[in-house]
Symmetry: C2
Subunit: 344 residues, 2 copies
């Protein structure tokens, strides 16, 4: 908030009021380069970074530019449903690839895919980090099969047990395009993300973005740049990460106490917890029953390529729940689950 | 600025920090509906309005949704070059139509065009308003030839001698899609515009926007909504319009005094002035010579479908020049024009 105020000082307004056409705020680029990327092991030049309207806009631009009818994209399954929709909207065919406790099963990525979309820092939605072995596999496969890897640094700003290095940081072949977001640590409503790619590709993305929306709002770019430059973001990330860890601990504890028949993935971190219900459970019906008790859960089926067989899963968000509401919430959820006749 | 501060109050942050997926700030929609549109004679329901990242993003979304290979779009010539590029990027063919003192020559719009793109409030770049006769012609032709009209309310928020009614306000056939912008009266850097169309089309635009960028930054939506709701925008528009009128008067006067061989269109208003130089003048060379004297002009050729034959034109912006710099600027420009050998 303070930085948003600073961005409103008269001198700063001169810096953001004008139309920037295809450029970004140089201070924000510098802060992404100097503060955000090195924490993930990525070192990039300013001309290798472009600011986007959030990670989703980044994926939309990349798919518009790179994909077309006939493109094949290997996708984690379960995986990020909006990415799947965006790639399909661009005309690409998406190919589901299984997930296990080490993340996406790289051996099962078809050689004829042109792109591989992955969330290696925290897998969306299970939060599992991609293992080192799989990371090496993925990169070697991309070289062998001439594939481009789209790395979504999902929840990657958080400091937790998930690996800190981005896949892009160990890529020597230039095949990894990195997508980052500030939605999870600042506010999703701000819509600020970025892409790290080759200077050539970034230049093409700028040309596309110029027609799509010219540039992300310059006042927000400047406010976030100031926020980063003063070190506030590091402090916020530490605070959020600690708060999320504590909420996750309480949530997993409450689930094992009140929903013992549900399995949660061993949470390495992130902003949500992924759960698998007992056989016959239908989380869509459960979501309605829970909502009647003021508890919000997210049914998991939308994360799967084939929804029908996956009505047992759900995701519980921890990014905005207060600590004292977690246990009562899970109690209510357990009551709702008991009252609900399981799906036939 | 005050409203941006208000949007930062804790209670308001709750209203914008969250991800809005495909929705807009209801307060902003309400303010557009109640304050901006009626001034142009447009009465729309909330579900007929969608907020965009500026007018350009509005045109990009409309072209992505409505146009494809084989689409033919009639365009004013000279006209808004970015619109031309956006339509071509979507695969459409653009067809130039001549401009005269009444605006676009509607009789020359080919019957086989699927779309007509017009800037009837102030023609871009000449600022001529489209005459009443031509407006009726345009609407009748659209009905007869089954055409969709894309109305860009270019500079339409300004209060000046140009007609106040939008083409959309007199459309009874539902063939006009209206695009508005807050760039000219607030700041282009904010990137806020809107589309007024049928509820069905707006729903489709929301579905597309959800994947393209989810929603325009919610903090800016809320800040502008507060600004509008307090009546500040009306006051700002009156102030800006009066300031622009005075600058335009001084500019036209200085041009007739120091550049007597240049013709300016009788300016009905708007944020710039359009000038035609003497035979042999090349405004690209003049722009370089003028820049060396700290005077910025915009060569006019980029507004034409065929650039080569239109190197005599230029546009002078008045939206950010101080009154006392106008006459000295035109003097410098005249000196630069005299020193420059005219293009062979």
């Amino acid at each position: 908030r303070e930085c948003n105020r600073m961005a409103l000082a008269v001198l700063e307004i001169r810096n953001w009021a004008a139309d920037m056409v295809d450029r970004d705020d140089p201070l924000l680029i510098e802060q992404i380069q100097a503060r955000l990327l090195p924490r993930r092991g990525i070192f990039a030049n300013p001309d290798e970074i472009i600011v986007t309207l959030g990670a989703q806009n980044a994926l939309y631009m990349l798919s518009t530019l790179l994909m077309g009818r006939g493109s094949r994209v290997a996708m984690e399954d379960p995986g990020y449903p909006d990415a799947r929709s965006i790639f399909q909207l661009a005309g690409a065919e998406t190919v589901p690839v299984r997930i296990d406790a080490e993340g996406v099963v790289t051996q099962e990525i078809p050689a004829d895919c042109d792109f591989v979309f992955v969330t290696p820092s925290h897998h969306c939605p299970t939060m599992v980090p991609l293992s080192d072995r799989r990371r090496r596999d993925l990169l070697a496969g991309a070289v062998e099969n001439d594939q481009i890897i789209l790395e979504d640094g999902y929840d990657s700003q958080l400091l937790d047990d998930a690996p800190q290095q981005a896949l892009k940081s160990i890529d020597r072949s230039g095949r990894v395009i990195y997508v980052g977001s500030l939605s999870k640590t600042l506010a999703p409503g701000l819509r600020l993300g970025y892409i790290v790619a080759s200077a050539d590709l970034v230049a093409e993305l700028r040309a596309l973005r110029r027609f799509m929306l010219r540039h992300p709002p310059a006042n927000n770019q400047r406010a976030v740049a100031l926020f980063l430059s003063l070190g506030h973001h590091e402090a916020l990330v530490r605070k959020l990460s600690a708060a999320f860890a504590e909420r996750r601990r309480r949530l997993v504890h409450a689930v094992s106490a009140f929903l013992p028949e549900w399995q949660s993935t061993d949470s390495a971190g992130g902003s949500s917890v992924w759960l698998k219900g007992p056989p016959g459970m239908d989380t869509k019906a459960l979501a309605d029953a829970a909502l009647a008790r003021s508890v919000i859960i997210e049914p998991g089926e939308r994360f799967f390529a084939e929804r029908e067989n996956h009505v047992r899963f759900m995701r519980l968000g921890i990014s905005s729940i207060a600590l004292q509401h977690i246990e009562p919430g899970i109690r209510e959820l357990a009551t709702a689950a008991r009252r609900r006749p399981a799906a036939a």
